[in-house]
C-alpha cells in the first residue's frame, strides 16, 4: 500500500512536468507572436488561455488518478 503513495507522488510530479513544458511552450510562442505583431496580441492572449486550459485539463486528469491512488 505504501507503493501506492510513492506512485501517487511520482505521478503528480511527472504530470506537473508535462503541464509545465506544455504551458511554457505556449507562453513562449505567444510572447514571440505578440512581439512580432503587437496588434494581434488580444487574439493571441485568448487562444493562449484556451490552449493552456486544455493542457491544464489533461494534467488535472493525471492528478485525479494520483489522488485516487493516494486515497486508496
Amino acid at each position: 500500500m505504501e507503493l501506492a503513495y510513492l506512485a501517487a507522488g511520482f505521478g503528480a510530479g511527472i504530470t506537473t512536468i508535462g503541464a509545465a513544458v506544455g504551458i511554457g511552450m505556449i507562453g513562449k510562442s505567444a510572447m514571440e507572436g505578440s512581439a512580432r505583431q503587437p496588434e494581434a496580441s488580444g487574439d493571441i492572449r485568448t487562444s493562449m488561455l484556451i490552449s493552456a486550459a486544455f493542457i491544464e485539463g489533461v494534467a488535472l486528469f493525471g492528478q485525479v488518478v494520483c489522488i485516487v491512488l493516494a486515497l486508496k
Binding site: 488561455l49 484556451i50 486550459a53 491544464e56 485539463g57 488535472l60 486528469f61
Partner: protein, 355 residues
Amino acid sequence: MKQFLRFLLLTLVFSTGVAVVSNAETGGDENRIDLIGKVVDKYYLDFKPLTTIELPRLIYDNGNFHVYRSTTSLLNESEIFTDAAYLDTGPFIVDGRKKPVTYKIVRLDGSSPQFDFSITNHLVFFWLAALLTFLIFIPLSRKYRQGIGRSTEPRGPFQNIFETLVIFIRDEIALQNIGAKKYQLFTPYLLTVFFFILFMNFFGLMPWGVSSTADITVTAALALFTFSATQIFASKDHWKHVFWFPGVPVPIKFILLPVELIGLFTKPFALCIRLFANMASGKILILSILGTIFIFADLFGSGVAYGTSWFWVFLTLFIYLIKALVGFIQAYVFTILSALFIGMATADHSDEHGH
C-alpha cells in the same frame, strides 16, 4: 536601523497573528490540524474564533422528510438516526461532551438513509452567490429596459463597471466563439455562468467565506448545464461528426466513432475537474503553507518557527493574491470553453466543403 525596526515590528505582528490562528486551529485537546476537514463541506457556518452557526438537517427517508433544527438536536433527540463517521472536530455538544462533527448521518442499524438534503456550508455560499447575481443583474437589466445605457450613456459607477464586463463577454466570448448567427441565444447563459462562478470564487477570499466551487458537486452541476446546452442545441453536423465522420475513409470512421463518443463526455468532465481542482488547491495550498510554521515548530523549536513565520505569512499573502487572479481566470476559462463547445456543436458546416 529604521528598516530593521520595521521588519521586527512586522514579524511580531504576524507571529502574534499566527499564534492566534494556531490556538484556534488546534481546537482544545486534539493537537493536530485536520487539513482535509477544513476543505470538505460542513454542516455548520464557521466563524471560528467567535462562534459557529449550525445549519438545519433535512433527511428524506421511507417516504417522509425528517427536519431537525441542527445536528446537535438531531443527535440528542432523534430516535431514528445517528452518526457514522468522524472527519472533523466540531462545535456539537452531545450529552455535555464535545463531539466530533457528524459528517454522515445513518439509521440506527448503520445503513444510510435514502437522501440527505441537509443544508451545508457550501450550499449557503452557493445561495449567497446566486442571490448576489440576482440582486445585481435584475435592477441592471431593468435600467437597460428603461433605456438608460442604450439611448443615453450608462449612469453611475455600478452600471459602468458591469457594462464593461457584460460587453466583454458578449463581444469577445460569445460573438467570437459561437458566431454572429446564434450568439444572442447563448449570451444570457454565458453571462450568468461567468458572474455566478466569479461571485462564488470571490466568496472564498472573504474572511470566514468558502468558495462553493471548491465542491465537485457544484462544478459538476455547472458542467452538466454546459453539456446539456451543447447537446440540446447541437446541429445536424455535430451528430454527423460524432457518428459518421465526413471526409475520411470508411475504416477511419469506425476508429473515430468511439473517440468522438468519449470526447463528448470528457469535455464537460474536464470543465468540472478544472474548476474544482483550481479552487480546492488554492485552499489546500494556503493551509499547507501555514502548516509549515507548525512543522518548523515541531522540528526546530518554537523560536525558529516564530522567526521564520513572517516568510510563510508573506507567501500565504502572495498565494491569496494568486487565488484572486485564479478565481477570475477560472470563471473566464469556464465561460470561454463553454462558448467554444457550444460554438463547435451548433456550427453549421453546410456552406463549407468536405469538412
